[in-house]
């Protein structure tokens, strides 16, 4: 078996048994990255640091002092600040930004011995569902439709992280999820990914998009690998007052394979008009798998579902316009002199530094927060957000977890939706409600469409109950037995 095909759990076993070294794993990963350049997965490569970190891991193995993730290559979404390594948020305005500090999530991974494998591409400031808004160009999905050589989007915003795992370059990667940015690309690329409960991972050192929604999480090929990575990433951080001051449970041991007696809800309102038959079919199949495994599956109601996206497209741009006010051409990032006075410099810097989608969202956010509109839009959205969260609370009085499709379609072709913001936003129809409520959600590969493209199922759980999410996701994974791999068309013979 190729080293790149191993899961994180298998790598850990092999490293401990000294079957291969961290340096060998790192070299195999770097070689795979070099072969796959055409997909535009990385914004910044870190070959030297990768090899240096792997060498340190090997020294710890030699001394018998290995840490839990020692030698495991992990690609970082380029939204996590990495000390001394350029961090761009896929934006022109940060394209020369080299942080002097390390994000808490990445620091936690390095503390446990993980090896940095480059900074992955994303939608600019994580605003997008297709990775097409990156200043550094779009990422290509390793998967292609059968008999069709056109580029497919990897989903977004964590598109590079999803592609790097699906293409078997890295066994795992970090993502962030504000409205679906871990789960939707995971589904589009045929891998697993979890957005934990808001607050489970520290947001310190992550370039901010919408602070009440942003949450970091792992992406990997198996449910267990996601649990292993989240174990290291999660935890209270004094530097983020919204991080949860709670013990981190042992996520991997939650994957027992036993869901007998568990109650699973199927939200009736998620069966939206025009849902493709294949999506409905994979959802029904998922429900049957859970029934077969001994769970009790029943319909539940989340009546506010249809208002989640409109709520999100008030709350997220409002918070973004406020967060992105910091890019002023003075303290860090790009500066464009413009007309020469201070306001002209601000306007020129921000006009040139932000891409089209980011400008659009800043303007929407500014509008809904502006005098005279604040109550009608922002405050109203915050009230509806309470109602959406209440829907979930009520549902979780009846069931232990919910099962839904992750995305309303398979991966679409590049350019297919970029002309119409609303049709792009609709991609997140199944992921956004959980983001607003702050609850954990995980996407698991469930099968292939008739076009040969991956489809994902989403498991949602109660706040801080990632354990049940992992338990249910593990059963789905086992039943789906998803073993398909993308044809490596990017490898030249």
């Amino acid at each position: 078996m190729e080293l790149n095909d191993l899961t994180i759990a298998e790598m850990q076993d092999g490293l401990r048994a000294r079957k291969f070294s961290a340096t060998e794993l790192a070299k195999a990963a770097l070689a795979a990255a070099d072969r796959a350049k055409v997909m535009n997965i990385f914004i910044t490569e870190t070959h030297e640091r990768t090899l240096a970190m792997a060498a340190e891991s090997d020294q710890r193995f030699a001394k018998g002092m290995a840490r839990p993730l020692d030698g495991v290559p992990v690609a970082m979404k380029d939204l996590f600040c990495t000390k001394g390594v350029r961090t761009t948020a896929a934006s022109h305005i940060l394209d020369a930004f080299v942080p002097t500090y390390e994000s808490t999530v990445s620091a936690n991974l390095w503390r446990d011995g993980a090896v940095l494998l480059g900074k992955t591409n994303l939608d600019e400031f994580a605003m997008g569902s297709s990775n097409e808004t990156s200043f550094f160009g779009p990422v290509e999905n390793p998967w292609r439709k059968l008999g069709d050589a056109r580029s497919r989007v990897p989903g977004g915003s964590s598109g590079g992280s999803a592609a790097v795992v699906a293409a078997r370059i890295a066994p795992g990667a970090t993502g962030t999820d504000t409205g679906g940015s871990i789960r939707q690309p995971a589904a589009f690329c045929g891998i697993a990914g979890i957005k934990p409960t808001y607050g489970r991972c520290s947001r310190w050192g992550i370039v901010a998009f919408a602070s009440s929604l942003d949450q970091a999480g792992p992406m990997a090929r198996t449910v267990r690998d996601c649990a292993i990575l989240l174990q290291s990433m999660a935890g209270y951080d004094a530097k983020d007052s919204t991080s949860a001051d709670l013990p981190v449970p042992d996520f991997a041991t939650a994957i027992t394979g036993d869901i007998r007696g568990l109650k699973i809800g199927i939200p009736t309102e998620y069966r939206v008009d025009g849902m493709p038959a294949e999506i409905a079919a994979v959802w029904d199949r998922g429900a049957q798998w859970l029934r077969d495994a001994g769970a009790e599956v029943r319909p539940v109601h989340l009546p506010m579902t249809k208002y989640a996206l409109p709520t999100y497209y008030i709350v997220a741009p409002a918070e973004a316009s406020s967060n992105l006010a910091r890019y002023d051409g003075v303290r860090f990032g790009l500066r464009v002199p413009g007309t020469g006075d201070l306001t002209g410099m601000y306007e020129a810097t921000r006009g040139e530094g932000f891409g089209k989608e980011v400008r659009r969202r800043i303007l929407i956010g500014t509008y809904v927060l502006s005098a005279g509109y604040y109550d009608a839009y922002y405050l109203k959205a915050q009230r509806v957000r309470s109602l959406i969260a209440r829907d979930f609370q009520k549902a979780f009085e009846q069931v232990d977890a919910l099962l839904t499709p992750t995305a309303p379609s398979e991966a679409f072709a590049r350019g297919e939706k970029s002309g119409d913001p609303i049709s792009m936003y609709l991609n997140d129809v199944f992921t956004v409600p959980a983001s607003l409520a702050g609850i954990p959600g995980m996407s698991v590969p469930a099968g292939l469409s008739g076009n040969g493209l991956p489809l994902g199922l989403q498991v949602l759980g109660r706040a801080y109950d990632e354990e049940t999410v992992f338990r249910v996701a593990g059963v789905l994974e086992q039943a789906a037995a998803f073993a398909a791999k993308p044809e490596p068309w990017w490898v030249k013979p």
């Binding site: 008030i314 303290r331 860090f332 957000r385 801080y464």
Partner: protein, 95 residues
């Protein structure tokens, strides 16, 4: 609600984002569509509902009120596009 070009210009000014004239027209159309989409919320009666301001209600951990960080002037200035003599610089704002 339909947004016209003048409104786009006003909010672009508020947001300190320069927008070209041609883009202003297309943005007026796009923002109008997005606002119409958002205004579905008008159907919801949320009177008396507390606005959600935090995802999970949780008390904050307290710590002694002490200085725990600092002396990082050079770090802070390291990414400034035009730092000088230990300061950020801006275009001249007073005559």
């Amino acid at each position: 609600m339909a947004i016209d070009k003048a409104t786009v210009a006003k909010i672009a000014r508020l947001a300190r984002v320069r927008v070209g004239d041609a883009e202003m027209t297309s943005l007026a159309g796009e923002l109008s569509k997005i606002l119409t989409f958002i205004e579905q919320l008008d159907e919801v009666d949320a009177a008396g509902v507390e606005p959600m301001t935090s995802v999970v209600q949780m008390g904050l951990r307290r710590r002694p009120d002490g200085v725990t960080d600092g002396d990082k002037r050079d770090d802070v200035l390291k990414n400034a596009p035009d730092a000088m003599a230990g300061f950020f610089t801006v275009p001249k704002v007073v005559e």
